[in-house]
């Protein structure tokens, strides 16, 4: 049915997104860009998680998605703080 096609499309989009961000994590002028790419990758991951939830018709992935949303942020900030101050808790 139509939704499943849409799902596949979305999957592929975010999957490709994942690959592009991966590329950026590996090839980038600076660490900042890599962190940005990683952050984006995490966001793509969230999307994929939710898509899986829809596909399998389960709410079981919700917690995972939520945690990713919360923690991805912490990770990114930690990296950035490290670049800014060296010490991330001061």
């Amino acid at each position: 049915m139509i939704i499943s096609y849409a799902l596949d499309f979305a999957f592929i989009c975010f999957g490709l997104g994942l690959l592009l961000t991966l590329y950026r994590v590996i090839f980038a002028p600076g660490v900042g860009d890599r962190v940005l790419a990683l952050d984006t990758m995490v966001i793509n991951a969230i999307a994929i998680l939710v898509l899986q939830g829809i596909q399998q018709g389960t709410e079981i992935f919700f917690e995972a998605a939520m945690i990713v949303a919360m923690l991805g942020f912490v990770g990114t900030v930690a990296y950035a703080r490290f670049m800014l101050r060296g010490n991330i808790i001061e």
Partner: protein, 951 residues
């Protein structure tokens, strides 16, 4: 007196000197003397019975299952040796009282002496060969202490270690031999074992056992080629030499041969080995003895020679030879002990033992001279002294001994030995005592106090008496002893008398005496020749061997354990893979694998990301921050994969752990160098790649096999699935397993986490308490530091995020039992929420607002978990038995309460506490001099500025 008591007395007594020494030297020595004297009397009480041929025994079980028992027995042989050990012991104790200077710790000396005495008595009274081994090794140990008694003398220490090594080696060989013997005979009890001659000699193990036992005996009795340690042991105080090296320890080897004679002797192996060893030792010892300038050295080699003589006689294995051996044991003990003591006196008086610096002493110390003269003549085998009698017996026995079908070699060599011994005996006598009085003695000698010459004098009298009235005095003892040596119900009878008529022995004796005197007359050229001839010095060889062994040991140890973890790890991996691979190939793989699942696009992309991410991390690993960023990918992908593969709880845990780990690594990286230098050579990297690749392939193969194999039998997990709700009250089976089915694992797991935090705290404290602190306070960052320590936006955002995150934490905690989540993840979420506060507003500001000490949080977590488990005790159930029920307070829906939640609460607290304590500790390291606790949560806040008057 019971044999136990006789054997035990010296050991018990060994405590006394230590205590008595405070009471003065006389009291100390008196008590020591009383102890061995009473032991001697206790022994002699049994003499009549033993001489009648009875055997006194006493036994108590020790390790019956092994066959080791504390069983003693006293027969002629035991009586003879016991008397020598204790009797001469008493004399030595008396002698030592006057010999030892006031500087020497006499208490220790007598303690060691009694220990040694006890060990010797133990050997000769043991009825159990394992027990005998115990005492045997004890003599080595106590003699180590006695020889090393003068700690400050290097010769003393070296001599002690050499004696320990050689006799220790012999002892270990003996252990082997005795165990074999016992295993052949099926018993370790001598009295039984000695009955089994045929059984033993028929056994294929007889020869190895014999060799090992003889190795033990020869080392102890300084038989060629193990003779070299004895002269080195002369560094010991003279009483020790007199005791150990004339009457006792060196005779232990002879005793052993005599003791086992009934079962070991009579074979060709025995004859050849024992006879030859004895013969060679006798001749060689005597020869070397001639050219010793040190009185004690000369005596030592003469002892070696005489021990060889006795050994040889035992080798002959004839009745006459055995009688000769026994008799010579007595005689040698008497004259040699007194000689050692007189040598000691000379040393004591003249402050030298160097024969070349002595001479003419007979005028200065007549009493000592007479004693020494008597003993020397006996040693030379001059009638009418006792040495003569036993030497005649030896020559007689030698005269009838064929070596193969050669009939002259043994007699000839025996005569030669006798000749040499005449030579050194007379050298001792003449070069020390005769000649003109000199004026260059290191110290003007004169006769010692009565107490000091009493002991040697007594022995000298024995020498004479036994010489004159041998049959009457020792005939019975010799018979009894010989009987027990021969065993097998033999009844040897000794005819001890001075004149046997004109026998081959008499001729040989004559030749020996004349030849000896001639050789002495030619001493100067002979000596020149002796020193001109190069010959291997066993001591040098021994030292070489020991030195080589030691340095080899040091080298092996050093190179093997050079602290290179990189090598250790490589070895680990290689070994692990090889062993596992070997195991795998030994078994059978599954014939019908499972049906694999086709992967669609997303998993493949994830896989690709993982592989690439891993590769890049490794590639970039020297740029540490970069490596950490890329590491983030791997964490994310792995959690997603867990999620995809139906493990949502794993996904949550992996992810949250990942974040905290990254934060930790970043906190640490702040202090560490940001780059790893390129240190490993290309070859080295290639090697590592090969190892890593090899293991990787192996593991992948293993994992693949595992995944495509079905359980050999249904997994117990089916039970968990079936009963998770019904009995565990939860739908999330993983969580129910964690808090209920296998709650004990989780209990341990949170303890681990708590311990980790405590350690990290402790190490931090240690650093801050050490000199490191200063460098930390003064350190300058690796990089320029940006302004705006606590950015406004971040602070505000976390203010909103903290409560929401806690809400989420509560939710995940409560739902854990039925949905993915649970105490652990909840704990991490809350901890991370707090961490956000710390990152945003700074350590101090956040910490001031933290009311609960994290130590306590951890501890109470563990305790709450434990208490919940212990609660089960009260309805008489085992630890961690959970219970739950459904409750309803309108208008709320019916909800479930399970004790498992209490447990999970413990988990929650422990996790929060552990994570926070860890981060706290690490951030405390970052203090720099001049840091002041932040007053405000954010650096920039316009509403704080004076110019802003509104609100």
């Amino acid at each position: 007196m019971s044999l136990f008591l006789i054997a035990a007395l010296p050991f018990i007594g060994a405590l006394l000197p230590g205590l008595m020494i405070q009471a003065g030297r006389n009291t100390c020595s008196t008590w020591t003397g009383i102890i061995s004297l009473s032991a001697l009397i206790g022994l002699l009480v049994h003499a009549p019975a033993v001489l009648r041929g009875e055997v006194i025994t006493a036994s108590v079980e020790w390790m019956p299952a092994l066959g080791l028992n504390a069983s003693f027995y006293l027969d002629g042989l035991g009586l003879l040796f016991g008397t020598l050990i204790l009797g001469i012991g008493c004399l030595i104790i008396l002698y030592a009282r006057f010999y030892l200077s006031t500087k020497d710790p006499m208490g220790n000396f007598y303690t060691y002496l009694l220990l040694f005495q006890g060990a010797m008595v133990g050997i000769v009274l043991s009825d159990n060969i394992l027990l005998l081994l115990v005492f045997w090794e004890l003599t080595s140990l106590s003699s180590f202490l006695l020889i090393g008694y003068w700690k400050h003398l290097p010769e003393g220490r070296q001599g002690a270690r050499m004696a320990l090594t050689v006799t220790g080696m012999g002892g270990l060989a003996l252990i082997g031999g005795m165990l074999m013997l016992g295993n052949i005979a099926g018993t370790y009890e001598l009295t039984e074992l000695l009955e089994k001659r045929d059984l033993i000699q028929a056994d294929p193990l007889y020869v190895p056992a014999l060799l090992l036992i003889l190795l033990g005996a020869f080392t102890k009795s300084a038989q060629f080629p193990f003779h070299f340690w004895l002269p080195r042991a002369m560094a010991a105080p003279t009483p020790v030499s007199a005791y150990l090296h004339s009457a006792t320890m060196v005779k232990a080897g002879l005793f052993l041969m005599a003791r086992l004679y009934p079962v070991m002797s009579g074979t060709a192996e025995w004859f050849w080995i024992v006879t030859l060893a004895g013969l060679i030792t006798m001749v060689m010892g005597a020869l070397i003895g001639i050219f010793q300038n040190d009185l004690k050295g000369l005596l030592a080699y003469s002892t070696v020679s005489h021990l060889g003589l006795i050994t040889m006689l035992l080798g002959f294995s004839t009745e006459a030879a055995v009688i000769g051996a026994v008799f010579h044991i007595i005689n040698h003990a008497t004259f040699k002990a007194s000689l050692f003591m007189t040598a000691g006196i000379v040393d004591h008086e003249a402050h030298t033992r160097d024969i070349t610096r002595l001479g003419g002493l007979r005028h200065l110390m007549p009493i000592t001279f007479i004693i020494s003269a008597v003993a020397s003549l006996s040693m030379a085998g001059i009638p009418p002294f006792n040495g003569f009698l036993s030497k005649e017996m030896m020559l007689e026995a030698a005269a009838h001994t064929y070596l193969g079908d050669n009939h002259w070699l043994v007699p000839a060599l025996a005569t030669l030995g006798a000749l040499f011994s005449v030579a050194y005996s007379f050298r001792l006598l003449i070069h020390t005592w005769f000649g003109p009085v000199r004026d260059d003695y290191p110290h003007k000698p004169h006769d010692p106090p009565f107490g000091m010459w009493l002991s040697p004098a007594f022995l000298a009298i024995l020498v004479v008496m036994i010489g004159l009235f041998s049959q009457a005095l020792v005939g019975g003892l010799v018979d009894a002893t010989a009987a027990s040596v021969m065993g097998n119900g033999a009844h040897p009878h000794a005819h001890l008398k001075l004149w046997h008529g004109v026998t081959p022995a008499l001729y040989m004796s004559g030749i020996a005496v004349l030849g000896g005197l001639v050789l002495l007359a030619l001493y100067r050229p002979a000596n020149g020749l002796w020193h001109a001839v190069p010959r291997p010095d066993a001591k040098v060889i021994f030292d070489g061997v020991v030195g080589a062994v030691s340095s080899a040991a040091a080298w092996i140890t050093g190179t093997l354990h050079d602290g290179k973890l990189t090598r250790y790890a490589a070895i680990f991996f290689v070994f692990a893979v090889l062993a596992s691979w070997h195991a795998f190939t030994g078994g059978q793989g599954v014939t019908t694998p499972r049906e694999p699942m086709q992967a669609d696009i997303i998993p493949i992309i994830a896989w690709f990301a993982l592989i690439v991410g891993t590769g890049v991390t490794v590639f970039y690993h020297r740029h540490r921050l970069l490596a950490l960023v890329v590491l983030g990918i791997i964490g994310v992908v792995i959690s997603l994969s867990f999620n995809y593969l139906s493990a949502p709880d794993l996904a949550l845990t992996q992810l949250s752990v990942e974040v905290v780990t990254i934060v930790l690594l970043l906190l640490a990286l702040n202090f560490l160098p940001e780059f790893s230098p390129r240190e490993s050579s290309t070859a080295r990297r290639a090697r590592d790649l090969i190892i890593a690749g090899g293991v990787g392939v192996a593991v992948a193969a293993l994992a693949y096999t595992v995944m495509l194999t079905d359980f050999a039998m249904p997994s117990i997990a089916e039970y968990h699935l079936a009963n998770s709700y019904k009995l565990g009250g939860g739908d999330n089976v993983v969580n129910v397993i964690l808090v209920d089915f296998r709650g004990f694992d989780t209990f341990g797991e949170i303890t681990v986490l708590g311990i980790a935090a405590l350690i990290i705290y402790g190490v931090t404290e240690g650093l801050l308490g050490s000199k490191v602190r200063l460098s930390l306070l003064e350190r300058t960052p690796n990089h320029p530091v940006a302004g705006d320590e606590h950015p406004l936006m971040m602070v505000v955002a976390t203010r909103l995020l903290l409560p929401i995150a806690i809400m989420v934490g509560v939710y995940i905690f409560l739902r854990g039992h039925n949905d993915p989540g649970g105490g652990f993840v909840a704990g991490l979420v809350v901890a991370i929420a707090l961490l956000m506060q710390y990152m945003a507003s700074g350590y101090d500001w956040a910490d001031q607002r933290q009311r609960y000490p994290y130590h306590a949080t951890i501890a109470s977590g563990v305790i709450i978990a434990a208490i919940t488990g212990i609660g089960a005790f009260f309805n008489n159930m085992p630890f961690l038995t959970s219970d739950y029920g459904y409750f309803q307070f309108p208008p709320l829906e019916k909800f479930e309460l399970a004790t498992a939640m209490g447990f999970d609460l413990g988990v929650f607290l422990a996790v929060v506490g552990a994570v926070m304590l860890t981060l706290e500790s690490l951030s405390r390291l970052a203090y720099r001099r001049g840091d002041v606790p932040d007053e405000y949560p954010m650096d920039i806040n316009p509403s704080r500025l004076p110019k802003s008057e509104d609100h």
